[in-house]
Symmetry: C2
Subunit: 343 residues, 2 copies
Amino acid sequence: MGQQNALHRRVRPGAVTLKHVAERAGVAPITVSRAINTPSSVSASLRAQIEEAVAELGYVPNRVAGMLASAHSRIVPVIVPSLSNAVFIEVIQGVQTVLEAEGYQLLLGNTQYDLDRETELVSTLLGWSPAGIIVAGLRHAERTEALLRGCNRPVVEVMEAGRPIDMNVGLSHLKAGAMMGRHLIERGYRRIGFVGGRLEADYRAMQRYRGLDRALAEAGLARRPPFEHPDSSSPEVGGRELLAVLRQAPELDALFFANDDLAVGALLCAAREGIAVPKRVAIAGFNGFGIGALTSPALTTIVSPRRDIGEIAARKLLARVAGSPAGPARVDVGCRLAVREST
Amino acid sequence: MGQQNALHRRVRPGAVTLKHVAERAGVAPITVSRAINTPSSVSASLRAQIEEAVAELGYVPNRVAGMLASAHSRIVPVIVPSLSNAVFIEVIQGVQTVLEAEGYQLLLGNTQYDLDRETELVSTLLGWSPAGIIVAGLRHAERTEALLRGCNRPVVEVMEAGRPIDMNVGLSHLKAGAMMGRHLIERGYRRIGFVGGRLEADYRAMQRYRGLDRALAEAGLARRPPFEHPDSSSPEVGGRELLAVLRQAPELDALFFANDDLAVGALLCAAREGIAVPKRVAIAGFNGFGIGALTSPALTTIVSPRRDIGEIAARKLLARVAGSPAGPARVDVGCRLAVREST
DNA sequence: AACAATGATGGTTGCGCTACCATGGTCGGG
DNA sequence: CCCGACCATGGTAGCGCAACCATCATTGTT
């Protein structure tokens, strides 16, 4: 701090600006601006002249200045609770595909499943005058919600279906959990447990548990609290949990894991330990990661259209920015049960 | 375009600015600026007054304006060739951990292994007046290199060790490939093949192949061109490739896969198809993803410190921004052979 | 032929903030 | 008790660009 170094200088030496290009091309700065932003509004001959000057000088437009002048940026922050979880990566990929095609930039925020961190991020990122904002989840701190509500920009809440601040793209995790619960019951399993990690933070996993619980209740079967572990989900943890749960509750004949990372780990661990799946215990996951289809036995899971969520969210956001119809405020992308060998 | 909608208005209605806070607090705007950016330079009483005004008005500083005024932003673009590959995700995570702790924001760029796309991205992202820039790889288009060289900001090239534009954090993929090659030879394998995807694009994988090739040459063993496939790497592709390669070249007794995604897929496929690993064919990977330790047999691989690469890169970049010593321009983080059951 | 409609170009202004310099007040040493 | 050092605060200017409106040339219309 305080220390005056080269990067904090007011004027970056040698910076080429619009003005320089304009002088070189013999036109007014505004014309250069137009040649860059709305080429169709400049005559072909001038445009060629300007493009030449741009190339010669190596001009790179200062987006920051443009943004300040127009109060409109091509930045879209995406706020997710975690990057370790591949689900969010795929959503981000979907968003990015759409954004980059339209010349927008993705600004990444990671809350680590902390609602206060989320407030902080939203506040900071709104300072970038973003075109809109994409946030994972429908539950936020009060202040976060106030910020999002008052920011006067398109806001898309993704991952779960529900009542959004502005727009929403996701699926019902409750339904997904119930769907898996009914499948397991239909298959003849009667003592079904749920294994998840940090359920107080990952409330979408908790919703899946609730769905399972509801299915169990409907069928008049024994309901159990979920098995939790403190670490973030990974195959390693899944394997460890499988052993721990079977030791603790050997009567269980089916386990619904909160996600495929855990479930695949459990499957591999079972193979290694000689635990017969699904004979001794059935194993199910959630997500539909490709690897689940390759294990032996292959994993029964619920496939969610993760990439689609990102793409749809980005498209709705951009539609609103452009003022074109964005379609319904709420999109339920649904999910699909993939029955394989592990149940 | 052309269409005038709410988001393109010059003045965003109801936007609270520094000035409003200053009026409310009864001080000059510059004092509010200082209270926010360098709180220690404002007396405690004024600071409290200002903080109150900020809270009352719900003021969110406009970073864009600040950036323009100071020609210095807290943005760091990270340009990677792919998000599908978990390696880059972990590097990004490492970068983000460090950046967020210092109040910096990560701007994500994805080249899809396309050098022209990279040039475009670098050009665009430099328009954000970033504090510095992190790019995967040492090979760039000429214009990209010119831009990076001339941008007068810290540039960190990550993933591979070599001669950087500015700074470099990575490892030698050639050495890594040779390390695995020597391991396989030492284990008694004599007919060793390499399986990768899109090697013309993923030249780091190609380097690993070259390392293997060198080890084979040193040992006087038969060298073969790599087996390639056109899709991006995934476990599914790895399984398919295992079968295809064994059909095409049944004499092979060991396969070095370009990465763990492929190798794990091959391992799972082998288990399913009853191909004995390592008896019929040994399988090795590269990366050291956790799941490789869980398969049966467990995967022999080379563990690269991916997260460290991101963290070190971000720290070096921030050190340079702050003007403090950033350490050596080149950091070779090395890698480690993890010998497990699959070889 | 006169005029409106359209399109291309330029001048001026200000986005919100911070660098820079100036000012005035407080304090300790001589 | 005065002077210079130092700190807290304020005034001014300008970062680079695009919105807005004005101007001028061109075209089509009656």
